[in-house]
Symmetry: C2
Subunit: 200 residues, 2 copies
DNA sequence: CGCTAACGTGACCGGATGGTCAACTTGCTA
DNA sequence: TAGCAAGTTGACCATCCGGTCACGTTAGCG
């Protein structure tokens, strides 16, 4: 839309990265209520610097969310040309959940749901998931009534399930991913009571 | 432990109920950060009254959580003697999710996880779920490697899945409960990558 | 009734938080 | 290397929140 943004000064670029990393950790540990002051301290800068890079706390969150959705998109594309469509979809869900394990950013996502950039990159992720799902469906390894939106919504389910059990093993989510993925298989599938939701 | 608590005065009892209801709504709408002042306003009382009934905000949350876990226990027991063990388990999960649909209290639960009363009534719920799960497993309608703890953890999964899609139909969660329940069925089940978690 | 213990009230407090800004420092270019 | 724009700083502000408390109000018993 507007012209390209001016290149950041070297120290500013480094501080921006430090801030994003620090904010990610802080949000993962303390939740959305992590304070900007703590984030700044963790990054080794003053509070004012945070607001130079991100006008509001919400925009900082949006930046983190954007980065993570982009990472999921990359994971999806890495499976794009895999030989086995079923294994590709499972591998995507596994890698996505694994990435989410340590830093649950779901709460952050819902906050920046209104952000235009986030919405756009999220649509892109949806498209890449659709490619995986279509191939799997065509190959008959998942049931016919499963859509990309279904898979999109189910990405974080295994990780969330485990969160309700304090002190659970780190990789317990794999168990529930197994259960859910079995639910996507055509063998012994019962008709679903509701149609798949529309995207957008 | 201590002797029975003094009976509440009539107006106090009514205000307590009003407060619990108002707090439930407020927490459901605004999340854990709903302010005590707003809750008091919604209940039509002054802020001081809130703290007369519940020493801290955490105790107010614990009271709500206790009420809701008790409701889930009642739902489980209602299916205790049902004819079809598979239908009984599905019916429990459906009723439990339905109860959770409008007011998601998962965040509240994790806050009051340390509360002794909450822990006790939660163990009770686990026991009642175990009865349902054992019957279903014995009947061969769910796979042999599913435990009561699995089901306990999966209760809120369908509702949570839908939360990531703003503007979704009210009963979309039924679709994902269908998928997950299919994942619990023995037909076409693949071995799970991790053992069931221990309870306690 | 009338009395009192239980209850309700809302002003108030200490602390924390997101955000601002004028003064200062530093990377970069010419 | 000099000069300046870009970047950094931390004190400061307005606001909000959980929790307290001295005082006014009321239910319910005798």
């Amino acid at each position: 839309m507007t012209d390209a943004v001016r290149a950041l000064r070297s120290d500013a670029a480094r501080n921006r990265d430090l801030l994003l990393a620090a904010a990610e950790e802080e949000f993962a540990e303390r939740g959305v209520d992590a304070s900007v002051a703590d984030i700044a301290r963790r990054a080794g800068v003053a509070k004012g610097t945070v607001f130079r890079h991100f006008a509001t706390k919400e925009q900082l969150i949006a930046a983190i969310v954007t980065k993570h959705i982009a990472a999921l998109t990359a994971i999806a594309r890495a499976q794009h040309d895999a030989a086995d469509p079923g294994a590709a979809l499972l591998e995507f869900l596994t890698a996505a959940a694994d990435r989410r394990r340590q830093r649950d950013l779901t709460v952050l996502m819902s906050i920046s749901a209104g952000d235009a950039t986030v919405a756009q990159i999220r649509d892109q992720l949806h498209d890449d998931i659709a490619a995986l799902v279509d191939r799997a469906r065509a190959g008959g390894v998942i049931r016919a009534d499963i859509t990309a939106t279904d898979v999109f919504l189910l990405i974080c389910a295994p990780v969330h399930v485990v969160e309700n059990l304090p002190g659970a093993p780190d990789d317990l989510w794999r168990r529930y991913l197994g259960i859910i993925f079995d639910g996507l298989r055509p063998e012994g599938a019962s008709p679903l009571p509701r149609p798949a939701p529309e995207w957008t």
